[in-house]
């Protein structure tokens, strides 16, 4: 078992509880022991980086410090935005001693342990797309997906900026496809899989956001996908919940089930509905579950 500090982020504890329950149920099957963090806060979601960037840096340093305190080398994320925010702050703190010294002094002043720079921030996707994690995944996904056609949707902040994320070619990613295949599904290809779902501006600029959102859903539907899968709960909320608004705005009858990464693998690994919580989805997942006879 690999011990990893587990950063749920906001949504998995709030509107996307199904992501948290399915991740926790799946982790042991993938050889991951999740160490929960009590004292951590929101990473700022790019919003605090944009409004009060010095506070953003300190908030993320605090998360990294508490992750380091667990003795785990890896802080596992399950959200694209958390991944970018934490990796960016981590790189800055690891590679600028002067900056780290100042931040640590501030952390200690308010009673937070200082951060030494010994944590690596990695998304669940990366832990299971290669190496030991991938081998375990192939064993865990014993029930398979019966050739279900799955459209991978990466979203933005797990690919770009690649100098901070750096796991795979941001224009030709492969990790979700590898996982879909290992689970017995058929990955389908479409251009918008690496584009934006519109979520960051879905409240402030809904019309613009919906014009972005329609691309992946429409393309996946036209390519004959049975469902889409995403490693990001913000993309999930946008693709799933705002699909309602997309229907209304366009008059098109979109019915695309959207799965969290942990749910897709979870189905193939035989997790229970109490862990998958498909009932919490806005767009029904029934077409998927009935094909799989879950």
């Amino acid at each position: 078992m690999q011990r990893v500090a587990y950063y749920t982020g906001c949504l998995a504890a709030l509107s996307a509880k199904e992501l948290n329950t399915s991740t926790k149920a799946l982790a042991p099957k993938l050889g991951l022991e999740l160490v929960e963090l009590e004292s951590v806060t929101c990473c700022g979601a790019g919003d605090i980086h944009e409004a009060e960037p010095d506070y953003y840096l300190h908030l993320n340093a605090r998360i990294l410090a508490y992750a380091e305190e667990t003795g785990c080398e890896t802080l596992m994320t399950i959200c694209n935005v958390c991944t970018l925010n934490l990796r960016q702050a981590n790189w800055q703190l690891k590679n600028d001693e002067e900056l780290r010294a100042r931040v640590n002094q501030n952390l200690e002043t308010v009673g937070v342990p200082p951060y030494s720079g010994n944590v690596d921030v990695r998304h669940l996707l990366w832990l299971i797309a290669e190496g030991d994690g991938y081998e375990r995944l192939k064993d865990a996904a014993h029930k398979g997906l019966k050739g279900l056609r799955i459209a991978p949707f990466y979203g933005c902040q797990i690919l770009r900026p690649s100098k901070i994320l750096g796991f795979e070619d941001p224009d030709r990613p492969w990790s979700l496809e590898a996982i879909i295949q290992a689970c017995g599904g058929e990955p389908i290809d479409y251009p918008a899989k690496i584009k934006c779902c519109g979520f960051p501006i879905i409240q402030a600029r809904e019309e613009v956001a919906l014009s972005e959102l329609i691309q992946p859903i429409e393309q996946a539907q036209e390519a004959g996908a049975d469902a889409m899968v995403t490693p990001c709960p913000l993309c999930h909320l946008s693709l799933d919940a705002w699909q309602l608004k997309l229907r209304k705005a366009t008059g098109k009858d979109f019915q695309m089930p959207i799965l969290h990464l942990s749910q897709l693998i979870g189905v193939a690994a035989g997790l229970e509905e109490s862990e998958l919580k498909f009932k919490r989805h806005v767009v029904s997942v029934d077409p998927v579950t009935s094909k799989l006879e879950v």
């Binding site: 010095d54 519109g198 402030a204 972005e212």
Partner: protein
């Protein structure tokens, strides 16, 4: 097509035009990543033709597809109409407004530290690569876009410019900074390391610092701050009224009810509270007194971020001298 080993994409285009098809249209001038003329797409990615070496691509047996940049109308072959691009650049008033008309008697010295704030944005060669794949501009052609906004910060961040608030008010309008969807294609594509998305974030930070925070985007961002100070985690359900105002939020009731039925509207009470959240509150108070607010909060991290390429990728640049932002130059003679 035979080309020498050292050929870049632009050399290959020159050969094609010379030997095969004289009608092939593309822009070029300096051949050394300074003029910004030869922006185009290779396999769907916006690149400068003079920067892309072709040997590794040929060695890999790959035949790349070359096309015109996106988000701008194609005039012919690889030439796009950049007039909307220039219109947006012009709209940010890309010239210094020092707040005086008369030339002063003494030279006004600007420190290296002050110029480092806009170092990255000043590298822009206006090639359009950042605009080519901009997702917000694809959805809204009127979006000012990464190049113009980075240019905007180049002047907002300039210590000599006295029109900050006026500029920020313009940049906060519809189609301005809060329309950026944070897809980060601009940072990925920029051939000069400008990182336009970071420049947009700097403008957001300066706006909030200067109290230009009336836009829904700014209100959205401020609610995240409030959330981390009070519960630690995002107070998700209150985000809509805090961003859009009560009246707009009421209009969304139908949608909210549909989401609520699926548990997608977590009740604000009891709140989901992180342990020791008072530490976050104390941190914000503490850093608020340390003078690194606004864009400086992002600029301070650039020293470390600038080292990624030096240490990980470009081996030949490993021995390049390190630039130390924040170091004061010796005082000017006389």
């Amino acid at each position: 097509m035979d080309a020498p080993e050292w050929a870049c994409l632009l050399d290959v285009l020159d050969l094609i035009k010379d030997k095969h098809d004289g009608t092939l249209a593309y822009r070029k001038s300096c051949r050394m990543m300074i003029c910004g003329s030869c922006g185009m797409r290779m396999d769907g990615r916006a690149v400068l033709a003079c920067k892309e070496r072709m040997k590794p691509i040929v060695d890999a047996g790959h035949v790349p597809v070359i096309s015109a940049m996106g988000n701008m109308p194609v005039l012919k072959d690889l030439v796009v109409d950049m007039s909307p691009f220039w219109g947006k650049i012009r709209s940010v008033k890309p010239w210094l407004d020092p707040g005086y008309d008369e030339v002063a008697e003494k030279e006004r010295i600007v420190s290296q530290q002050q110029m480092n704030v806009i170092h990255k944005e000043a590298l822009c060669i206006m090639c359009g690569c950042c605009v080519s794949e901009c997702n917000s501009m694809e959805a809204d052609p009127d979006f000012m876009g990464p190049a113009a906004l980075a240019k905007g910060f180049r002047f907002v961040g300039d210590a000599r410019d006295q029109a900050d608030v006026e500029r920020l008010n313009t940049l906060n309008e519809e189609h301005g900074i809060w329309d950026c969807t944070r897809c980060y294609f601009c940072n990925e594509r920029c051939p000069k390391g400008v990182d336009p998305r970071d420049a947009i974030a700097k403008l957001g930070a300066e706006s909030v610092k200067q109290g230009v925070d009336h836009d829904m985007g700014a209100k959205h961002a401020k609610w995240f701050i409030r959330s981390t100070e009070t519960t630690g985690w995002l107070r998700e359900t209150e985000l809509v009224p805090k961003t859009q105002g009560i009246i707009e939020a009421i209009k969304q009731t139908g949608f909210a009810l549909k989401l609520a039925r699926k548990g997608k509207v977590p009740p604000p009470f009891p709140p989901h509270v992180a342990a020791d959240v008072k530490e976050a509150r104390a941190l914000r108070e503490l850093v608020g007194e340390q003078g690194r607010d606004g864009a400086l909060g992002i600029v301070q991290g650039e020293h470390a971020l600038g080292r990624i390429e030096f240490t990980e990728e470009a081996g030949a640049r490993e021995n390049a001298p390190e630039i130390q932002p924040g170091v004061e130059p010796p005082p000017a003679e006389g």
